[in-house]
């Protein structure tokens, strides 16, 4: 029997899936790695720990679930979170930790670029919003703030490029991940000279650009031995988690969009055109030679509800957040839509699309003397979903959407899916496979092997199950609250900024006391 392995280098953990040739899941394993925050706004991961965790999980998984059942591994395909940056020296040794997508240290650099006439040209060429998440900004920060490391850097890699280099020896980056760096011209598919000049680097300092189906070479013999894989097993560079999640969600064709809500969240559409937004609010990532994945990301998905549960939930057993969240959801369901006038802006981690305001903060608005905890719970869920709705509305300016497919642990909670259908006023289906990212990797490998003619056919093979229908009456209620939500999000901009500068000076004082 033959199988395909997907390795997803996610935000907190590596996930390994095996699929048979029909796309059925054979097995799954994961291993987590930590994120370090040595300073506020910093978010780093240890590339060696990611590599070892991946190797450890993969080795055990292969021996327990694959080799023992005599599966023959045809291909191994990678995917990873976007926007990471890892500097290495000329021997390939990492210069410190990798900087992850969530790192905001380049706030000032992003602001400076956004204020310059170059900003629009760079966004139009690269399709990546000007934001601290973007490797363009992170490398610019290194150039300005860590000159010594910047000077010593032989190449700037992504975490996935490093892992693949360790396994095969090749320095490569696929067009999907490259298109999320803010350094690639997504129209010509070459590194953008303006962006490179701005960051102060040359093409030679970046990995080689390759298509997502590219095979960077064979596994190093030692890893072949320790993993028990043959020289015939093909290594595919694969794509980004965002692109694969969209491919695996089966939203191919006009009028469809996917809403992913894990810790963070995004609304995405597939198309053959780049969405050129004058205000620079969308990302446009390359899936393959034909398709782009466009959309808007949010920082404040399931992580916000988890925050709420940790603070206000009833923990009957230590650390049992799952049952605590179940209970909160059950309570929230007893409250009328609109939470009896309580509104929540979920911007606990600042926000990206559509307001692109790193200083935005959370707000409960409209509290009255009759509100109980359950109203807060429901308002929190509604607020997270209003935020997703605001991204969808912005996409609608360019792309008609009449059907939604959801995935991700938060969005697929039945209560949340129904709420989403009502707020969006559109039929919603839940992706049949819990892990769309790995399913996307399977579709790519299967196409490469010849199971499908092309990615179109592969994507259309995902049958979406029954839909969750919107309740139009409820939508009417939500629509009224949403218009207040939208106004508040913008109106508070000055106050968010004032508060952010207070908090910043607060942190400075706090640090002074502690040192």
């Amino acid at each position: 029997m033959e199988c395909i392995i997907s390795i997803e280098l996610g935000t907190n953990a590596v996930r390994v899936y095996a699929f048979d040739m029909k796309g059925n899941t054979i097995g799954f394993a994961k291993g987590s790695y930590p994120t370090f925050h040595p300073h506020p706004d910093y978010s780093e991961q240890d590339p060696e720990q990611i590599f070892i965790t991946m190797l450890y999980v993969l080795k055990n998984f292969l021996s327990e679930k694959i080799h023992s059942k005599k599966y023959n591994v045809l291909s191994v395909c990678f995917s990873a979170s976007m926007h990471s940056v890892l500097a290495i020296d000329k021997h390939g040794v990492p210069l410190g930790n990798a900087i992850t997508w969530a790192d905001n240290r380049g706030k000032k650099e992003a602001q400076a670029l956004r204020g310059s006439p170059l900003a629009e040209a760079i966004y139009q060429a690269t399709g990546t919003p000007i934001h601290p998440m973007s490797p363009l900004i992170k490398i610019t920060w290194l150039k300005n703030q860590d000159k010594e490391k910047f000077q010593r850097t032989y190449k700037f890699l992504s975490i996935k490029s490093y892992i693949i280099q360790q396994l095969t020896g090749a320095y490569v980056i696929d067009y999907s991940l490259a298109s999320a760096t803010g350094l690639l011209d997504i129209h010509t598919r070459k590194w953008d000279p303006q962006a490179l000049a701005y960051a102060g680097i040359t093409e030679e300092q970046l990995p080689e650009l390759v298509p997502i189906v590219h095979s960077p070479g064979k596994l190093q013999p030692q890893y072949r031995v320790s993993l028990g894989l043959s020289a015939d097993t093909k290594i595919l560079v694969g794509s980004s988690d965002g692109c694969f999640a969209t491919l695996g969600a089966g939203v191919w064709g006009d009028g469809k969009a996917t809403v992913t809500i894990e810790d963070s969240a995004a609304v995405r559409v597939v198309g053959t055109n780049v969405l050129q937004d004058k205000k620079g609010r969308f990302f446009n990532y390359i899936l393959n030679d034909r398709y782009y994945i466009s959309g808007g990301p949010s920082n404040n998905g399931g992580v916000v509800f988890e925050w709420f549960a940790k603070q206000f939930g009833d923990f009957k057993n230590a650390y049992d957040i799952e049952s605590c969240m179940d209970e909160l959801i059950t309570e929230a369901a007893t409250v009328e839509p609109g939470s009896e006038g309580l509104l929540f802006l979920p911007y606990l981690l600042g926000e990206r699309a559509p307001i692109w305001n790193a200083n935005a903060r959370g707000v409960y608005f409209g509290m009255n003397i009759n509100h109980e905890k359950k109203h807060f719970t429901r308002a929190t869920v509604e607020g997270i979903l209003y935020e997703m709705y605001s991204i969808e509305k912005m996409l609608q300016e360019y792309h008609t959407i009449n059907h939604i497919s959801v995935n991700g642990s938060f969005a697929t909670i039945p209560f949340c899916t129904q709420l989403l259908a009502d707020i969006f006023n559109k039929p919603v289906s839940i992706s049949p496979n819990a892990n769309s990212v790995s399913l996307g990797a399977y579709l790519l490998c299967a196409t490469e092997i010849g199971v499908f003619q092309n990615l179109d056919e592969a994507a259309r093979s995902i049958a979406l199950p029954d839909t969750c229908k919107p309740n139009h009456y409820n939508h009417g209620v939500y629509a009224k609250y949403y218009s207040i939500f939208e106004k508040l999000s913008r109106k508070l901009s000055d106050e968010f900024e004032a508060l952010a500068s207070l908090q910043q000076s607060g942190t400075a004082i706090h640090h002074a006391i502690n040192t």
Binding site: E48, Q49, F51, L55, V57, H91, V93, Q220
Partner: protein, 295 residues
């Protein structure tokens, strides 16, 4: 509690308990110069505040203690008021001799009924560099009161009860110390704290019990939560960190492999080499040859 002072060698109440050096409750109504200068001692000193506000300096750190708070000063640590005075208020204290307080070799004394492994765990936790003041430890007040009753009333079995109460005090203090920094709500945060502890002391031969105690959890729940959160058993996760750290060190040309093995917690370079090769297919030296950084 009424005022009293029991001292070893002078008070008959302590005859059967040679490990108790001093046990007292005092209501201080006037400030006297030099009533609480900074001192260090070779026994453990435990203070429990009943009334008032006390500003103390313990092990060179300033603390303010309020009613219900408890301070534990270990042998060799300094303790006193910066102005040398005992402030107005009411407090109890217990000075107790511990046979040996040393990582891995702790002995409370023959009086204790704690098992060998429990004693070692308590020793390790007490020796961790943590705050020595435990706010709102009401249990300590209750134990002090019971101790006083047993010592003065001499009811049947009092000799056993006194020593049980001392064991209980040490158990409560260590449990509280391990739970101080965790809420029981945020496992990722707790796990990150553990990760930091492991990295700070990677060469230590950690046991699962120690890891669990470090974050204030029982072993069963700890195993289950670590596995579901990280995908690894606690010991496998630790090996994971060890090899990741070893890889970083191997890439620096100036360190020798045996030192790297011991620094990252392997028993020997042989143990390191076997574990490393099993996972990566390379021996540490082969791996190093392929990836050496400029020095």
């Amino acid at each position: 509690m009424n005022q009293f002072v029991l001292q070893q060698g002078q008070s008959r109440e302590l005859q059967l308990f040679p490990h108790i050096i001093e046990f007292a409750t005092r209501k201080n109504i006037s400030i006297e110069l030099n009533s609480l200068p900074g001192t260090s001692a070779d026994f453990v000193r435990i203070y429990y505040i009943i009334d008032g506000k006390f500003e103390w300096c313990i092990h060179d750190q300033p603390y303010i203690l309020y009613p219900g708070d408890m301070a534990m000063i270990l042998p060799g640590q300094t303790f006193g008021n910066t102005k040398g005075i005992l402030e107005i208020g009411k407090l109890s204290w217990l000075h107790i001799h511990i046979q040996k307080l040393e990582n891995g070799k702790t002995q409370l004394g023959n009086w204790s009924n704690l098992s060998e492994s429990e004693t070692q765990m308590i020793g390790k936790i007490l020796l961790m560099p943590k705050t020595v003041v435990l706010p709102r430890l009401g249990d300590a007040g209750r134990i002090f009161l019971s101790l006083q009753n047993e010592l003065f009333n001499h009811e049947i079995g009092y000799c056993t009860r006194v020593n049980q109460l001392l064991d209980e005090l040490f158990i409560n203090v260590t449990r509280r110390l391990t739970k101080q920094s965790t809420s029981g709500r945020d496992f990722p945060k707790t796990f990150l704290q553990l990760e930091q502890k492991l990295r700070e002391n990677l060469s230590h031969q950690w046991t699962v019990e120690e890891m669990a105690a470090t974050v204030g959890m029982g072993t069963t729940l700890f195993n289950e939560r670590v596995k579901s959160y990280s995908g690894f058993s606690p010991l496998n996760y630790l090996i994971n960190i060890r090899i990741s750290e070893a890889i970083k060190l191997l890439k620096k040309p100036d360190l020798n492999v045996t030192d790297i093995a011991l620094d990252t917690g392997f028993y020997s370079s042989q143990h390191f080499s076997t574990t490393f090769k099993k996972l990566t297919g390379y021996t540490p030296s082969e791996f190093r040859k392929r990836n050496v950084s400029e020095s």
